[in-house]
Amino acid sequence: MRKDPFVTTDPTNETPAKKTAAKKSPARKPPAKKAPARTPAAASSPSTTTSTTSTTGHASGRPARRAVILGGNRIPFGRAGKAYASASNQDMLTAAIDGLVARYGLAGAQLGEVAAGAVLKHSRDFNLTRESVLGSALDPRTPAYDVQQACATGLETFVTLANKIQLGQTESAIAGGVDSTSDAPIAVSEPLRKTLIKLSYAKSAGQKAAILAKLRPKHLAPAPPRVDEPRTGLSMGEHQAITTLQWQIPREAQDELALASHERLAAAYDDGFFDDLMTPYRGLVRDENLRADTTLEKLGSLKPVFGKRLDGEATMTAGNSTPLSDGASTVLLASEAWAAEHGITPLAAFIDAQSAAVDFVHGRDGLLMAPVFAVPQLLARNGLTFDDLDFIEIHEAFASTVLCALAAWEDDEFCRDRLGLDGALGTVDRAKLNVHGSSLAAGHPFAATGGRILATTAKLLAQRKAETGKTARALISVCAAGGLGVAAILESA
C-alpha cells in the first residue's frame, strides 16, 4: 500500500484547489474504452478485437504513410567535466550527425529536415541545429530547427518529425538532441544584467557613472545554470525523493534496478550491439558513467543524497540517480519510399505518441510522474496492453522514477481513481524493461536521451522480428522537468 500524503480514499482531505487540478488531469477522462482502438500493423495482437481490415489509410485511424526509423548514431556519453569538458553542444551535435551521415553514406545529401535541441543552451546557440548542420557533411541546403522540452526534447523532436513524414510534409529527417553540463551557459546576476542593459541606453558619462555606482560586489557573482524547478525551488532529486517516499520505494529495489542497468548496458557493449549505433568521440568509446564491475554491495555503501530532510528514510544515492552528463544523439527517419530509394532497410516504424503533464506544484502528483498518465492513454488508443509489448523503455532519471511508475500502474486504487481505469493497468515484465540498460548506466545528457532510447529500441525491434518473424512492439516513456512526460510506441518495420 502506498503512502499518499493526499490520501485519495479520504476526500475530505483534498482541497478544492487540488480537486480542480485533478479534474484538469489528462487522465481524468481516459479515452480508453471510447476511442476506437487502432490496429497495430500485422494485427497479430491477441488483445486486439477491433477492426483488422486495413493497416494503411485513414479509415483505420492509421496514417496513409508510415514514418520509419532507419538507424541512429550517438557519441558515447561523458560525465560532466570529464572527457567532453571542452566540447560545446554544437561540437557534439555535429559529431553525432556526421557519424550518422557516414554510416548511411549521406555526405552531401540534402535531407528534408533536421531537428534537435538542448536543454542547457547558450543564448548564442539560438540556431544550434542549423549551425550544426552547416558544420556537418550534409548538404548546407538541409533545413533545420531547434526544439526544447526539457528531458523529453529528444523524443518530442522525433515525434514531431515522424508526424511530418506521415503527413507527407517531408521525406527524410534527422531527430537529435545534445546537452553539455560541462560547457553550460553561465549568466550574470539579475541586478548586474539589468544594470548592463540600462548602461547600454545611457548617453552621457555622468549617467553611466551613476548607473555603475549602484553596482555592489555581490552583483558580480555569476549565476550558474540550475536544474532546480523554478516554481518550487526544489531540485529534481528532492522532488523525486518526495515521490519515492510517497510510493514507499525501498532502497534495495532502487539499487537492484541501477545494477541491472549497468550490467545490461555493459553486456550490450560486449555483444557489439552499439557497433552500428555509436561513433567514438574525443577518446571515449563507451559511456563514461558505465561501471561494468559495480555490485549491490558497492551501490549499497553509498550515502543518500536526496530526501534527507523528508519525514522518512532517505533512499536515493548517487548510484541510483543519473549523473550530470554530456553527449549527443541522432536518429535517421524517413518515409518508406525514401528508405527504399536510398537502399536502407528500416528498423522500426513510428506508431503513436502521447504527451502528458502533472500539476506537481499544487497537485498530488510527483514532478516526474507525467508518463504514468500518458502511457495508459497511449496503450488504450492503440488497443494494446503491457503483454502486447516486447520491449518497454522507461527513462531512468532516477531508479525510483521507474519504480514509482511501475508501482502506480500496479495499484488498483490509483489506476481506478486517477487514471480512470477499471483497475490496475498491469505489471511490467522486468525482462522486457530497459533490456540494454538505460540512463542510470549510460548517463543522461538531457536532450540526448530520447535519441539514445529510440535508436536502441528500433534496433531491438528489428532484431526481434528477424528472430521470430513476427511484428515486435515497444513502448518508450520519458519523464521531464516541469511535470512533463512523453510516451511513444514503435513497431518493427
Binding site: 559529431a95 556526421d98 557519424g99 551521415v101 557516414a102 554510416r103 548511411y104 553514406g105 555526405a107 552531401g108 557533411a137 557489439g272 552499439f274 557497433d275 552500428d276 555509436m278 561513433t279 567514438p280 568521440y281 568509446v285 536510398h342 537502399g343 536502407i344 532497410t345
Partner: protein, 470 residues
Amino acid sequence: MSDTYVKAVNSGFTATLAKRLGLPRPAMLRRYTPGEPLRTGPVLVLAAGDPTSHADADALASAFVGWDLDVRRSWGEGLGKVSAVVVVLTGLTHPDELHSPALELGSVLKQLAGGGRVVVVSRAPGEADAPAVHAVRQGIDGFVRSLAKELRAGATGNAVQLEDDATVGDPSTLAAVRFFLSNRSAFVAGQLLTIGRPGVPDGAPDPSDSTGLGNGTKLEDSYWDAPLAGRVAVVTGAARGIGASIARTLSRDGARVVLVDVPAAGDALAKVANELGGTALQLDITAEDAGQRILDHVRVRAGHLDIVVHNAGVTRDKLLANMRPDQWDLVLGVNIAAQLRVNEALLASDLFRDAPRIVSLASTSGIAGNRGQTNYAASKGGVIGMVRATAPLLAPIGGTANAVAPGFIETDMTARIPFATREVARRLNSLQQGGQPIDVAEAIAFLASPAAGGVSGQVLRVCGQNLVGA
C-alpha cells in the same frame, strides 16, 4: 609523414651542398594527379630483332599512339631526353639474342629523363620450352632487377611477363604497361608482373560488359579516367594511414567505397567516409560473422560487391623467445585468419560474382623475414599463400586475388621507429626513400581494376626495390 632529407637534398643551398659532398640524393617522386598526361616526353619503343618481338612492339606502339603518347621507334645522341623506354622481348629464344636490345637500351639510358620509366615486356617460359628459352627469359628477370638499381633521379624499371596465350593486346597487358609507365607506380621498382588469361565467367560472357574484359576487348579511352566506375569496394582498416589512402584512391578512380574499421576508430572512419561520400561500417574483422556483416551492409545499399581490400593489420613485434601468446594470436588472428574467414563468406555469396577482386596487404617482411616479426611475417607470408590459392577459386567468375607487399612506407607506424633505424630503412632501396601510402593505394587500385583480370595470384611489391625481400 615528411622525409626532410629528401626535401633538403632537392632544394636550395642544402641541395648544392649535398651534391658537392656526394651524398645520396633521392629524387622527389612525381605522383599521379587525375587528368595529367600519361608521359610528358617522347616514349621510345624498342624491340629485339626477331619478328615476334617486332610485331608485338608495333602493336604496343599503336596502342600508345591511341593514348596520345609521343611514340618513337629509334633514338640517338643529341636528340634530348626520352621520358620512357619500352623494350619488347617477347620472341627471344636464346640468351645470345638479348645482346642487341640490352645494349640499345643501354645507349639511351643517359638520356632518360628524371622520373623516367623503363618497361620490359617479355614472355614467361612454358613447361615445354627448351632450356635456352628458359635461360633467356629467366635472364631477363635478373637483367630488369639489376637495371632498376642503376636508374637514377626517380626513374624506375619494371617488367611485364606474358604467360601462356596472353598477348600484348590484352587489356591486362595494356593496363599493366600503362600502370608502370604512369606516375601511379612511382614507388614500384624492379618488379615483374605476370599476365595470364583472365578467368572467363561461367556461361557466355557479354562482350558489352565492361567488367568481363576478355581477350580482344577494346578499352574505351574514357576507361582510364575512372577505371572503377560502378564498382563497389570494401576497404578494411580504412580509418587512417594506408587504408584511408586506399579508400581515397579507389573513390578517385570511380568506386563507391565502404570503409571498415574497428568501432574504436569510428570517429576517424566517419571523417574519411564523409570526405568520400562512402559509408562507414564499424566492425571488428575478427568477429565470426564479419564477412556476413560486410555483405549485409552492401546488400541493400548497393546490391553487389566487387572489390575487397584486406588492409586491416596489426603488429606486435617481439623476439620469438619473448613472445606472449596474446601477441602471437592477435597478429595471426587479424592479419590472416580474419581474411580467410571473410573470403569464405565472399566466395559463397551471390553478391560477389561479377569479376570480383580481392586485394590483400602482404609485407616485404613476409617475403624476406624481419627480426622481431616472426608473428607478423607468418601472417603476411600466409597472405601470399592465401591469394595464390584463392586466385583459381575466383577464376570461374572472372575474379582475381592478389597481394601488395609494401616496403618502408611513411606512416604513423613507421614514424615510431627509432630515428637511426628509420633513416637506414628509408634509404635501403633503389629510390633511396620511403614510399607514401598513396603508392600502395595506387598499386591496389590497379589490381582492383577491371582491366587487371589477367593478373591473379600474384604479389606486387611497392617497396622502391628494397634490398630486403627481393
